[in-house]
């Protein structure tokens, strides 16, 4: 675990540096949207790592409820916290991209709606822990929120889709058609995704280590009094 953490940091640092060069110097500017389209290489990987994090939360929460081993809770919590950060950045970069291209910061299409609600659910996930009377109950409650949230996601997506068909005028189609990506663009996107997954894994291991230390400290404090 410790070695993985030490190895991941320089790897993530190098990859982020290369990624930035690819995005801002190497990849050609998209013809229609112009320079602002480059945010796409950050936005998509951020959103994908956000979703990966939330699946980790749900999976680890389910294992925690069945096995009751706190290490699974640590994983769920750390993934939840890093995931909320990733998803927040994904929503912000998405809005920055949408404003010049679509003319609005936000549209209520199925993807955006689902992303937004997922984000709110996991903010609630972190809130439950903060308000729980004891750590142990907080863990179990948060796990329940994580699992119910994950089960709910497909239904939220379907609901948002159905809603869109009810109000078709509100939809402004996504301007980027991903199938027509140039090979340089596709390569940059792919590399950026890898970079963010490595970055996410590194942040996750750091958060896990910190969480372990926090819990060890709390246990020591409890032993004193």
């Amino acid at each position: 675990m410790r070695t993985a953490r030490i190895a991941l940091m320089p790897l993530a640092a190098v990859m982020v540096a290369v990624d930035l060069v690819l995005i801002f110097a190497w990849v050609p500017t998209e013809q229609v949207m112009g320079i602002v389209q480059r945010i796409f290489y950050l936005h998509v990987p951020l959103a994908i790592t956000g979703f990966v994090a939330f699946f980790l939360v749900a999976g680890a929460s389910a294992v925690y409820l069945i096995r009751k081993n706190p290490r699974w809770d640590r994983l769920a919590f750390s993934a939840g916290e890093v995931g909320v950060v990733m998803m927040t950045l994904a929503i912000i970069t998405g809005a920055l991209w949408a404003k010049p291209v679509w003319g609005v910061w936000w549209v209520w299409d199925a993807q955006l709606t689902t992303t937004f609600i997922l984000w709110v659910i996991y903010v609630g996930y972190l809130m439950v822990r903060a308000y729980a009377p004891t750590n142990e109950r907080g863990r179990r409650w948060a796990a329940v929120v994580g699992i119910v949230g994950a089960v709910d996601i497909p239904l939220i997506y379907v609901a948002a889709e159905l809603w869109r068909t009810l109000h078709p005028d509100k939809v402004i189609g996504p301007a980027a058609d991903e199938s027509s990506l140039e090979s340089a663009m596709a390569l940059t996107l792919l590399f950026s995704m890898l970079t963010f997954l490595v970055l996410f894994t590194w942040l996750l291991t750091e958060r896990l280590a910190l969480r372990r230390a926090e819990e060890a400290l709390a246990a020591l404090r409890a032993g004193e009094c």
């Binding site: 009377p133 004891t134 750590n135 142990e136 709390a218 404090r221 409890a222 032993g223 009094c225």
Partner: protein, 245 residues
């Protein structure tokens, strides 16, 4: 109790058998490794200051609190894995009377009976309310009852399903002299019928008189276990406050 003559640990013949039971609430340790044995037909007095862990221990036995570590057998059953069976075997009276204010004592007991799937309940309920001296209040809302009367009804509620093990958490609260005599009678009856009673109390003198065995908790750990016959109020007081052991 831990005695040298105790048989092998997990005998269902024992009312209670606990080993290394721990419970922590966040940063506070409520129980730090409690060992305990109790045979049938005995009354255990549980002594200790506020916050010593008496209530937590009783709540562990009542399956209301899941211990973090250690093994516990209540009437030969594991309260975490066989919780339902344990709940059927115990009667618990906590600090709150566990009665619905807007229902009458009879309705409250009928509800408890339906939770425990009892048959022939109207006669049993009337009989129990008579026994605890609450017959006159059987059809008034609990809201209008005094604390002492509510406590009597709570005792009737706990005895409704004829539990083998009675768990009482400071049951004296609110009871008058007559109520205390009733409490002693009920405790003695359970023990005489081959059951067992665990009673937490701050009244050392009464506790020594009612209980056969004494267990003193201090900061979540067992400070003393002894038959009550070998103790007096002074020595028990010293054990509770932790002066000279």
């Amino acid at each position: 109790m831990r005695t040298s003559a105790a048989p092998s640990p997990a005998l269902p013949a024992e009312a209670l058998s606990l080993e290394g039971v721990r419970k922590r609430y966040g940063a506070t340790a409520a129980l730090t490794g409690v060992d305990l044995r109790l045979g049938w037909g005995t009354v255990l007095g549980l002594f200790g200051h506020n916050g010593a862990g008496k209530s937590t221990l009783l709540r562990v036995l009542a399956t209301l609190v899941r211990p973090d570590a250690g093994t516990a057998l209540v009437a030969g059953l594991d309260p975490t894995r066989q919780a339902s069976a344990v709940r059927a075997a115990i009667g618990y009276v906590g600090h709150a009377p566990l009665l619905y204010d807007d229902l009458t004592p009879t309705e409250n007991l009928a509800f408890a009976a339906s939770l425990f799937r009892l048959f022939d309940t109207p006669a049993r309920i009337a009989g129990l309310l008579e026994e605890v001296g609450a017959s006159a209040y059987a059809h008034r809302r609990v809201r209008t009852l005094s604390n002492g009367m509510a406590k009597r009804v709570a005792l009737a509620r706990a005895l409704l399903h004829r539990p083998a093990l009675l768990l009482l958490d400071e049951p004296e609260t609110g009871l008058d002299a007559d109520g205390l005599r009733l409490l002693d009678r009920l405790i003695a009856a359970v023990a005489a019928g081959g059951g067992a009673v665990v009673l937490s109390t701050h009244d050392l003198e009464r506790g020594l008189r009612v209980a056969d065995e004494a267990l003193v908790l201090r900061r979540g750990a067992v400070a003393l276990t002894a038959p009550t016959g070998t103790l007096d109020v002074t020595s028990l007081e010293a054990a509770v406050s932790g002066e000279g052991s």
